[in-house]
Amino acid sequence: MSENLRITNNKFIDQTTRISFKFDGKTLYGFKGDTLASALLANNIHLVGRSFKYHRPRGIMACGTEEPNAIVQVGKDSSMTEPNTRATEIELYEGLEASSQNCWPSVNFDIGAVNNFFSPLIPAAFYYKTFMWPANFWKLYEYFIRKSAGLGKSPTEPDKDIYDNRYLHCDVLVVGGGVSGIMAAKIAAKNNLNTLLIDDKNTLGGTTLFQQNECFKINNSYSNEWIKNEIKTLYSLKNLTIKTRTSLAAYHNYNYLLARENLTDHLDLKERKNKIRQRLWKIRAKKVIIATGAMERPLVFNNNDRPGIILSSSIKKYIDYYGVKCGQKISLFTNNDSAYETAISLNNSGVVVNSVVDIRDKTNSLIVEQAEKLGIKIHWKSTVVNTNGYKKINSIEIMKLSDDGTSVVEKKIKEECDCLGISGGWTPRVHLFTQSGGKLKYREEDNVFLPEKSELDQISIGSCNGDFELNEVIKNSVYSTNKFLNVNNKDYENLEVTSSKEIDKKNIWLLPSDKPFKKTKSFLDFQNDSTANDVKLALREGFKSIEHVKRYTTTGMATDQGKLSNMHALGIVAETAGVKMGELGTTTFRPPYTPLTFGAIVGRNVGEFFDITRNTPIHEWHVEKKAEFENVGQWKRAWYYPINNENMHEAVQRESKAARDSAGILDASTLGKIDIQGTDASEFLNRVYTNAWSKLEIGKCRYGLMLNEDGMVYDDGVTTRLSENHYLMTTTTGGAANVLSKLEDYLQTEWPELDVYLTSVTDHYGTVSICGPNSKKILSKIIPDLDLSDKEFPHMSFKNAFINDIKCRVMRISFTGEHSYEINIQSSYAKSVWEKCFAAGKEFNITPYGTETMHLLRAEKGFIIAGQDTDGTMTPIDLQMDWIISKKKYDFIGKRSLYRSDTVREDRKQLVGLLTDDPNEILEEGAQIVSETNKQPIEMLGHVTSSYFSPNLNKSIALAVVKNGKKLKGQKMFVPMKNKTINVTITDTVFLDKENKRLNA
């Protein structure tokens, strides 16, 4: 550190705690309380990055969220590195490592800077006009374009940090802890409103916190003294929650807001372990008060982008808050009074202020007079026409402005400097207001967009609402807050406020130079390198709308989202096109206000919490038996149970054979179960299923098919009549929730006259299904007093029973074609019943089987699986299930759709069986079916929906849907694969036990 750029009497930086950090590999020092930007400036480092397109050297320009240039890569660790972080927002911590981006090999010597030399060739949107020849070279061009684009580098390993979300409901949310926000929060909280105040900085107070100037006093003390006391009071208020380091990211409809709280980024690395890094607050506020302040505008003039050119108010913050001099000989360039505050602060800290270049005619507000008294030189009615210095500014060239402000006159003055502060006036931060859907109005006198109309319960106060004078900020904020909250707080009634009143305003969007305009480089968007020339080019080429200009020139689309560039782009467009600013409108401000990590949005919903996992009551048994699981919706279902290193095929073959040869046991607990009661229960079933229900005897079960109103199969399952007005419906696993809500919908909206109640009992019952020729023997061991004779307990019926005193229902139904039972018992006992069945079946080699075997067994019988053999385009007739459509019923859901011109077509795709000529060839599910092989293009007649090798038939079997399939039984077809064609024959869908003998075996 050659120069001492720190002043020592600073109150905000802990100069006793020195912190070491690395920038571009070099070890540097700063103090606790510094940002990376302030620490770099204290080390006289301005050059921190290269611009996106021309790779021009760029320095720190601001001190907060609007920083366009100083964006750095933080951290070296491949999992923890973070690209594109604003140096102005990084609080310095021990061990911080940051580096410049978008430059190679280094920020000081960057090869990409040749682009600057070629810059005449690459105006806005040049890429649309070239790289088209030769056509197939685009891939190569694109490779280099992509390589040169992008800023920082993405991490390449998973993030180790933890993020969190939290909901918060409050009466009043105040966004921004400056002078307006502080007063508003106090008023709200003191009136018993549950209030939340957030600010993105690490401390409240805004810029007033370091405003120690004769021109700005409250009750005869400096405004910084006053605000410190206010902050102290705030922290003692009961109804008030204060969150600092919390940035409002998005303001959605219905006062739903998202705020990101930074919890660990400012801590030393070793203090961060096991702590939440960022928390996203999902805030629902009854009322919202926006007090987000304003941000300073730059000025647009030739070569306004050199390192060392900094917003004037930022220079003030660096000296007054961080105690850092941005230079030793500073010039200022302004169109308004605020640069004079900077001049005075610098002067008070012993920094040489060369001069203030002011585009206005002489003005004599309080603050200007104070500056003049201090002997600060002012160039009135002048402009900077050029700046010099490649990696850091070293001089500026000043000329007088013509009366109309469009050209420069008289002779050029060169002024040496090592820093130039610029101030183009102030832009209210209306981003959140517009995000919330609010409409803006334009105020001509000082060229600002202000909140006008909002649909939501919210107000904007302070400078984000266009109040720039301290006395007005205070008066209007208090008045508006009281009115908005419908309270009458008198805390701020008799404040005596001194404020320097700005008298003259003048604005020139694009400042003239002595050089012809076309040869100047006046930057609008510093990060994306778009210039005033680019905007004018876009307009010349017919891009009239501001959105077109923005997209064509990429102005405002960089990581700062145009915070500094939008107003000037609008101004230049309006001026060039001869339109009024107010009529031009603005581009849309889209959330988030500042970039928001994906991690914070997702919170803890990562890893095991990515999605819900549902388990059956027997789950642990399957885990113990090392079952492989299949995801079925959110359920984990046992897929197959490999033993002795079996692969899936081997396990499934074994399980399938066992189930048919002796006994198998399946966990069917995931099936949806709906308890239906009410005097109209039968009528209800008549309406929702295709078949008839009224005559189903009590104690009997029936299979039902449910359609959508469009006639397509929606769900299926067995429903049991438990008593006169009491049914138990089962649905598919995946369909359970949708079926219940669909049925509730019909009951509540279409058929409110029906006396029917539906209650989900899916989780109440565990379902143990045992099947196979020995299932009866096994069941008789478990429930010895139940008469299992076919006469007493035939297929498709149910019995109430007890297992060790615990009530259960036993259904004799079958999805495998085997003699089988389903025991429904309260879930708490399901595992125990399962184990009992397993023990009782041991002598019969009872074999647990999973979903894969279940699918195989049902396919042998030609039973469909809704969702696998159907795809939302199959009617029951297509499934060759005409028998299930009641001819007698007047109506049921979907009936009318079965009689449309397309659904009555005879040659629709229909469900058939397929056998391969080679019985060992297993078809691929999803494979297509054709009738000819040598034709191009081939007409695809259908596809394979289910396919297995059946160990019980010792051949491969498949179900398929084939156009006109019903009539094609016995026909030869082909399944063309990538490298071969498989010959198949269309068959019946039932492959095994066509006579259903096994059901009663």
Binding site: D164, I612, Q677, V761, T762, H764, I806, S828
Partner: protein
């Protein structure tokens, strides 16, 4: 004997949060629309049927929660033998469903009840629940059905900082795990 199983087996304590499973608890879902149904329930259970939204009523043994204009959840204060639940179910079924007043469904194992106690339980809930607890937390007996970490739950405010939360059994292990994870960061 059949063994009784629950997906959640322990009690966990964190700073000002204690979460514990309470099972077996009797739970019966009651549905009906007309006055007779409401009167009958009151008479059978010696409890006032809450008809105001988001409320409940309780007696020494039972709690009756309002779930919707035609739906209530009955649950026992204490651990019961599930056979008693069946007994009560049958009784109510005969008195209500059989006589066409409404429906009675045993849901004792459909729901798992988790008890939350402590000063910070609402902070835990706010980690995954969009419901506004500001008034709820001070109204004893209040009931809400909402989502917690995307899972349907019924929450009954038993007492100050003492809640019973009902979650469907198949979701309960996941929710339990989520609650324990979140509690670590409160």
């Amino acid at each position: 004997m059949l063994n009784f199983n629950t997906p959640i087996i322990d009690t966990k304590e964190y700073s000002e949060i204690k979460i514990s499973k309470a099972e077996p608890i009797l739970k019966i879902n009651l549905r009906g629309k007309n006055r007779d149904f409401i009167t009958k329930i009151g008479k059978e259970l010696s409890i006032i049927t809450p008809v105001d939204p988001n409320t409940s009523s309780s007696n020494e043994k039972l709690n009756l929660l309002w779930l919707s204009p035609d739906e209530w959840l009955l649950y026992s204060n204490d651990i019961v033998d599930l056979k008693d639940a069946n007994f009560l179910e049958d009784k109510l079924f005969n008195e209500i469903s059989k006589v066409k007043l409404g429906s009675v469904t045993n849901v004792s194992d459909h729901w798992i009840m988790i008890n939350l106690k402590g000063a910070k339980i609402f902070e835990l809930l706010s980690a995954g629940c969009p419901f506004n607890f500001n008034n709820f937390k001070n109204s004893k007996g209040a009931v809400t059905q909402t989502l917690l970490n995307h899972i349907d739950v019924i929450i009954h405010n038993k007492n100050i900082n003492d809640l019973n939360l009902f979650v469907r059994r198949s979701f309960s292990a996941h929710l339990w795990s989520w609650m324990n994870d979140s509690a670590k960061f409160i």
